[in-house]
Symmetry: C2
């Protein structure tokens, strides 16, 4: 393996790590996934410790978390004592798993709260209660819309399929066209 390849891999792992918060895990956990995803073969804990400069505990915890998210598999090959980890290879599956888990953990509780608050406000009279109820209903409506879209994404086969429903104009084609709003004033 050349240095170029290794450099690109390192950059990719770094970027992916910095994106961890975006999908709800720590940078280290995200780096572990990125690293595994960038390799054609699985790896054992020792290898990750070296490659990513992590403690044994960090590797173990990250892998556990990624397993919980359904983003990697672990197996123990016969004849070896070490666990071999491999990332999920299908990125769409990765997206679906992440979306599903975040939905359960974060969106569903919001809706439960909203559903508990509105009846309480309806039993009140003042203008203030009415106004707040209005606003909460607006929130509920939007969250429920997002919720339905997520449901559809999860049930509807591939992410790409989901995208095609939206991108009727054909903008989904992989293209080199410059993105808009790149460097707004």
């Amino acid at each position: 393996m050349t240095n170029v390849t290794q450099d690109v891999r390192d950059d990719f792992v770094r970027l992916w790590g910095s994106l961890g918060t975006f999908w709800g895990v720590s940078p280290t956990t995200a780096r572990v996934f990125g690293w595994l995803f960038s390799r054609s073969e699985g790896a054992d804990a020792e290898e990750m410790m070296t490659a990513l400069d992590l403690s044994r505990g960090a590797v173990s915890m990250s892998c556990k978390e990624l397993r919980d998210w359904g983003l990697l598999t672990s197996e123990r090959p016969p004849g070896s004592r070490r666990t071999l980890y491999s990332s999920e290879r299908d990125l769409e599956k990765v997206v679906r798993h992440v979306v599903q888990i975040r939905k359960q953990r974060e969106w569903d509780p919001i809706l439960e709260n909203l559903e508990a608050w509105l009846p309480r406000l309806e039993s009140e009279s003042g203008d203030d209660a009415e106004f707040l109820a209005e606003r909460l209903k607006a929130v509920e409506q939007l969250v429920e819309l997002a919720d339905s879209m997520v449901e559809r994404l999860l049930k509807g086969g591939t992410v790409t399929n989901f995208g095609l429903k939206v991108l009727v104009g054909g903008a989904a084609r992989r293209s080199k066209k410059p993105r808009t709003s790149d460097k707004a004033s």
Copy 2:
């Protein structure tokens, strides 16, 4: 205003605050927005300090950040020396602004990186470089798909309109039906 209304408002502000990281701001900043959004009238800094138990500096910084995101407006009414802050009232606009800014700050750099990495790998030969290029292309494809969808959301008028494109089955209706996958095994 009754205690019930105030209690609901407080709970709402607390929840909204805990969601801050989800859309990329600190809990305090998120609470400020939630509080303003829950009120029919604007408020001055003094009032926020009391209601949200924040320092003067925190209020100023939070409001500045929210203004940057386009989520609140500030005006100085004639005859008063205090700035009056009001939240954006249209939740859809809020969503669009948040999405747009996060796209610019986070997604666009990803695509730029990917576009720089792939040519470097293509000038390499080994299996390893080829494999990594494959994976990066998969990432690029997905990010570009997401990108296109976001563009469409931003350009396509309302969030609700966007949702209707996806929810052809009518699942978008505001309903009381229990959400699926609430408490999975």
